[in-house]
Symmetry: C2
Subunit: 474 residues, 2 copies
């Protein structure tokens, strides 16, 4: 059934009273698990995407165990009610935005987490934060690499649902590279175990990998088995300024052809100036681009790798190159990169883009974004996980200015159009969610959308799982 | 339709004449693409699994382009004929064993291959050999890591279809970690492009990952976009002998908790003796286990890592530890490990197992395999990618001895039963194919099998794609 019609049938047109019968849901779950207080419901409408079209849920369920999740899905399957799985609500693309009259299924209470040091895995419930997984692993001298910028406040279940990335991905890969197994509850309430604590396992279809990045549209993850690495050695850090984006992109290509940096971040002129306005770090306001790179090669080899990277930067035309083996000094450079978002928050409300292109197309993307900013009369600065070609144009508009917001949202869409034209992706690590779903067909084409729909229909025939995410309609 | 019934309907019971009408297939393809000569057909019946139940194909198509593959699948879809995709035919689990009356679709002529050094990808047709991809990348100073032992003779398409592993996977991951995109022809002949030359891309479901490891049951891969890394520095190598499997497993756990070796291979007493019989290298025939480890950390750091690994081995109780920075000397140690299979080939026909367990369960697996060998009165020696817990018990039986073959096949199954009991997998890197399909339900359970079937039916409703692989019946 088309999702729009399904929801209309259940809850009437927007603005009409909700008709979802939550009494039977309350009866199906432990006392206190189902919340229907209007104030509480309102607090679960939005995630960080602040979608103005967010619905009001009929109920919020704070599950405490797999059985709770199964009960919700059995009930939702029977009553044909939409279920929106929600971790920490930090989605930037509306992946956990509430559906009108649906159930928002929060994982915030499912946070148990244990480390098995011999097998080098973490076994965690989805509500644990990324930072909690990292800390638990660190207590055993182990390391969970994926590091979205929001790692202190985002949930590990949301990371798996979106296949989240981060800064260290250029060397260490993304979330899917660390998910060895999971328990997932299907649309009909069946709980299945996929994979397990085995780095190599090709028995059967790659179902674990299919659920990673499925954004809650195929099932609800209730447990994850994550691969851990030994903690890396202390890193050396390099910062280089370039007269232009082109020269910095040349340096990125040269560096990644020679070695594997543990971080390779880029700031454009706009983000350099935004951070300098904010922090007064003495950054070169005239620079076309700034790169921050790291090596964590063991035992002195990091200084050697940094030297190689410095050579690449100089050959590409860097105007200044500075490197340090001092961790605090290195952290200061990375802090400049991380400060781009708080710096821009001072300029207004943010729309965070997440488009990616092949690395050689970075200059075309950066110039194109600048042209879009001018055409839309909106402010856009750009930071990027440059080694991956994954960029974050940060769009800011003054709060309460509807015309400015409309121009910003137009720019948001045009940036995606540009990325697609450049052979890129509309999302490198944030997910499609609701905000980007209208652009997905332009990237994937009708045949891949049809294939996606076939899998969705096979696993969620009633379309109750996170309707409107990934797929805008039946 | 159940595959068994589908095939029966088309070709009658085994032994009856084939009824597949190949004339219309010949007409649908370029001249010379379709082979029906009985001698040629017979040469495509088997792969390296030498399945005694292999069928006789009605035709072999040697495709030269995506359009040929589409024509075959359109024809097969219309006529409800089974299609067995085939790369180099080196499957050890019967993944490209012919189906009676079906079409074997060979990729051996689809071998074009190009490297894009700036984007650091290889774009290759499926018939190119793994070694050809490695060589093409190396010409640009780049590296395609996955290294199945058969890399000189196995096809890259087969690698992707099985999610092949290898020796360097302990540090560098398996095939799926390198497949950024693909073109795949679906059961109805539609060709779709998935992913692309982007390391980070979360736009839509992880379809690329779903097709990797699907063993030709969901579609036929016609092009791959593969991520390349910079070539690694020269490696240092360590070899250590241990009084027991237990002490060697302790060393593996200790090493992988501290650092990331570029190789961590194990030989048991049986394989040490088989190799010593074969090569007279002076290996310690009394050793319970031998480890071969490598570090490829840059600029002298590899010697430091090897020292750390040596410490781990000594602390775990190694009786002898030797290391070298000399590449030739290092290669000799690795050659001993690689010689286990040719050494055992002198003892008879081989059945190569591929079971995996969590690393701490390695001793239980090794002892269990020894007990199975005794109980089945068959010879089994064991080598392992120990850092991954992925083991290859090598079963040998005298050619032409039917009773010995039956005992060997019983042992083959019992080793899988054992791996499942130990929380492991029936296949770490070879694939399920036909040989292991009967054991898959015991590992995955009925709910995961049902989920697998739902996806299979959604993508291949007539069951024409590699029937009998992964799923034994409808």
């Amino acid at each position: 059934m088309p999702i729009g019609r399904l929801i209309d049938a259940l809850v009437g047109a927007p603005g009409q009273p909700r008709m979802t019968d939550t009494a039977s849901l309350v009866a199906a779950l432990p006392e206190g698990a189902v919340l229907t207080d209007p104030g509480v419901l309102a607090s679960y409408r939005h995630d960080w995407a602040r979608d103005p079209d967010a619905g009001m849920p009929a109920a919020v369920v704070r599950a405490t165990c797999t059985a709770d999740v199964q009960a919700v899905l059995r009930w939702a399957c029977e009553h044909k009610v939409a279920v929106v799985p929600r971790g920490a609500g930090s989605s930037l693309s509306g992946g956990s935005t509430a559906v009108e009259g649906g159930v928002t299924l929060s994982m915030e209470r499912m946070r148990s987490l244990r480390i098995d040091p011999a097998t080098r895995v973490a076994v965690t419930q989805p509500g644990a934060l990324n930072a909690e997984v990292k800390a638990a692993a660190a207590a055993y001298g182990l390391w969970y690499p994926p590091d979205p910028s929001s790692f202190e406040i985002c949930s590990i279940g949301g990371n798996a649902a979106t296949n989240a990335g981060g800064l260290c991905c250029v060397k260490y890969g993304v979330t899917t590279d660390y998910v060895l197994g999971m328990e997932v509850v299907l649309a009909d309430g069946t709980a299945v175990r996929l994979g397990g604590p085995r780095v190599k396992d090709v028995a059967g279809l790659s179902l674990t990998k299919l659920f990673v990045g499925s954004e809650g549209t195929l099932g609800v993850i209730t447990e994850l088995t994550l691969r851990l690495l030994p903690a890396p050695p202390p890193a050396c850090t390099l910062v280089a300024t370039f007269p232009s984006i082109e020269t910095s992109a040349d340096a990125v290509v040269a560096i990644t052809a020679r070695l594997r940096p543990a971080m390779l971040e880029l700031m454009d002129n706009g983000s350099i100036n935004a951070v300098e306005d904010f922090m007064k770090m003495g950054l070169d306001r005239t620079a076309g681009a700034l790169l921050v790179a790291r090596s964590d090669a063991p035992m002195g080899a990091s200084a050697f790798e940094i030297e190689q990277m410095a050579d690449c930067c100089k050959l590409a035309g860097a105007s200044e190159v500075f490197s340090t083996t001092d961790p605090d000094e290195g952290e200061a450079f990375v802090a400049a990169r991380r400060a781009a978002i708080p710096a821009m928050e001072r300029a207004g409300v943010l729309l965070l883009e997440d488009v990616g292109v092949p690395v050689p197309s970075l200059p075309a993307l950066v110039h194109g974004v600048r042209a879009i900013a001018e055409a839309c009369d909106t402010r856009i600065v750009l930071v990027a996980h440059a080694g991956d070609g994954n960029t974050h144009p940060i769009i800011a508009y003054p709060p309460g200015d509807d015309a400015a917001e409309a121009r910003a949202r137009r720019a948001f869409g045009e940036v995606m159009d540009l990325a697609i034209r450049l052979g890129g992706t509309i999302t490198g690590e944030h997910g499609v969610g609701r905000l980007k779903a209208p652009w997905l067909p332009a990237q994937l084409g009708p045949d891949v959308m049809a294939l996606t729909r076939r899998i969705k229909d096979a696993l969620d025939p009633d379309g109750i799982l996170n309707p409107g995410v990934l797929l805008t309609e039946s």
